[in-house]
């Protein structure tokens, strides 16, 4: 598994010094109803969240797909690209500790097509993001953000930590 540790900062250059920034940790997991855990690369501070959801959610195993760090500024859209997925997060901070994360979107990266589309054929419609939600998070807290098919199957899980 390719592990990326990417620090992205998408800030307007003029406001760089003035705006407060905060560091976030994003861990991408695949939750399955069968199989064995692959959590050797799970960051230590995300371990408690995985332990908590183990009895709570109906999944047997969790596999780390990738993880990364993301620095973002108030009201600024920030983007972190992981191995297979593109995570785009927009923050709106209220106060020093409580952050409203809205919207939180995880969408796939479309690989560029190798063969051009025939004339008259419209490009495919943009894919619906697997995760699109909103929530609040405290400094130091890990939020488990997930999505699965209605009725069962594997799930995509993001452990989103607002680092202190």
């Amino acid at each position: 598994m390719k592990r990326l540790l990417v620090l992205f900062l998408l800030l307007p250059s003029a406001s760089f010094a003035a705006e407060t920034t905060r560091l976030f940790q994003v861990v991408l997991l695949r939750a399955s109803i069968s199989g064995a855990d692959e959590l050797t690369t799970l960051p230590k501070n995300a371990g408690k969240a995985v332990a908590d959801i183990r009895d709570f959610l109906p999944y047997k195993s969790y596999r780390v797909l990738d993880s990364g760090l993301l620095r973002a500024a108030e009201t600024t859209a920030a983007s972190l690209r992981l191995d297979q997925y593109d995570v785009r997060v927009t923050f709106k901070m209220n106060g020093a500790n409580k952050l409203n994360v809205s919207p939180f979107t995880l969408e796939r990266v479309r690989k560029p097509g190798t063969t051009p589309l025939p004339p008259g054929v419209a490009p495919p419609a943009p894919e619906k993001p697997p995760i699109s939600t909103s929530f609040s998070v405290d400094a130091g807290e890990t939020i488990v953000v997930g999505s699965s098919k209605l009725g069962g199957g594997d799930a995509l899980v993001v452990l989103f930590t607002a680092l202190r």
């Binding site: 908590d52 959801i53 488990v144 997930g146 999505s147 098919k149 209605l150």
Partner: protein
């Protein structure tokens, strides 16, 4: 008091309480077992009445944790199940009472069971749960309102089922959003989406 003495003295009463909370013999036994496992690890009050109150609170908390887990798991499992209404279970009075009780929060259910089925007064329930009698009365009033609403809803649903000749087809399922907290305190923000794929 030793754990064995504690078990011999309170197991039967705790079991009856757990059975009324859960409605299941197996689950009630599990709840009582888990409560005594906790008692073995924790410092249980020496006083007999205080020890019973402590155990009742543990059973209630364990039942609440299980209820939360069950809500999440049932929401996950619901899937594409048809929403077509089947009026037969609601015609069964016992099933209606069970369903109405299940619609209450675990704390309200515990208070209603102990007040209306065990005949305990608000002061006794308050002493056991470690809350004010006025809070118990508030829970009872809120639970009564909810049970009344449930009864009215049941009547409306049965009447509708009898009047409507052909049920309308269920609409396509929409994405469901759940926000909940695990017993360990981790918050979970989940989307159940009929169009989701890995």
């Amino acid at each position: 008091m030793t754990l064995v003495a504690l078990f011999d003295r309170h197991q039967a009463r705790l079991y009856r309480f757990a059975l009324r909370l859960s409605g299941s013999d197996e689950e009630a036994e599990d709840l009582v077992q888990d409560a005594f496992v906790r008692a073995a690890r924790a410092r249980v009050p020496e006083d007999d009445e205080a020890a019973l109150r402590w155990l009742v609170r543990v059973v209630e908390n364990l039942a609440r944790d299980r209820w939360r887990r069950r809500v999440v798991r049932e929401t996950f499992a619901r899937g594409r199940r048809s929403e077509t209404y089947d009026p037969r279970p609601t015609l069964d009075a016992a099933a209606t009472v069970r369903a109405a009780l299940a619609s209450l929060s675990p704390r309200q259910r515990a208070i209603v069971v102990r007040h209306h089925l065990d005949g305990e007064d608000a002061a006794a329930i308050a002493a056991t749960l470690g809350i004010a009698p006025v809070t118990v009365r508030w829970h009872l009033a809120a639970a009564r309102k909810r049970l009344l609403a449930w009864a009215l809803l049941t009547i409306v649903v049965i009447a509708t089922a009898l009047l409507v000749q052909r049920p309308t087809p269920a609409p396509p399922p929409a994405a469901r959003h759940i926000q909940c907290t695990t017993p360990g305190g981790t918050r979970v923000v989940w989307t159940l989406d009929p169009d989701f794929h890995m």
